[in-house]
Amino acid sequence: MDIQVSIQPEDFDIAELQAALLGGGAGEGAVATFTGYVRGSHAGQALEAMELEHYPGMTEKSITDIVQRAAKRWPVMSARVVHRVGRLAPGERIVWVGVASAHREAAFAACEFIMDYLKTSAPFWKKEFTGSGAHWVEERASDVQRRNRWS
């Protein structure tokens, strides 16, 4: 199982990442991917920017652990996660998850599982900047509920 996790300020190239998932030519029949973007508004207010903070070391380990758990549940052949940190503008990419498997069922499920756990247990924190100031984003109960479907 090939797992790669990258936390970086720079943007990423989705086509390149997806091609790298299939590098081994090991019989992958399906790739499922998810891309997350910075939304342009929060609670009706226009968003000017977002800052993402992480816990260097723990964040990488936490995501690797999530991917390994997904690989125990579904026959995942390779998986990559890229998450950006630092200051981002509306419309910019934040996160990308790609999973390759022999069949689509495992690829879809593992990709969703990884995102649901990443959102609720990987140490990242978002701060939003609007015309009326800055605030830290609060945890959403709906994200926790989505994650709990898997247990």
């Binding site: 723990m58 996160v95 924190w125 978002k126 830290w136």
Partner: protein, 85 residues
């Protein structure tokens, strides 16, 4: 040897501290007792934010429960609920 303490996000801002080396460890120290001591002794003004129910902790970069023991040389992190993705 000290315990390395780190804070993130809103906690880091409210405590005006990103990290410190804590020398006051007692033999039976846990995450919970450490958190109370820090709030009381290290941050007498702003420490209440550290005691909020929602605050999470990690020891050596693995999520930790309040009763987990803390040893010399450990890195203990306190932070608010995570909001990545």
């Amino acid at each position: 040897m000290a315990v390395r303490i780190v804070f993130f996000a809103s906690l880091r801002e409210q405590l005006a501290c990103s990290s410190l080396d804590w020398e006051g460890r007692s033999p039976q120290e846990t995450v919970a007792s450490l958190r109370e001591k820090l709030a009381r002794e290290q941050f007498p003004e702003s420490g209440a934010v550290l005691l909020a129910d929602t605050v999470l902790a990690a020891v050596n970069q693995v999520m930790a429960q309040p009763e987990q023991a803390v040893a010399d040389g450990d890195e203990v992190a306190f932070f608010p609920p995570v909001t990545g993705g």
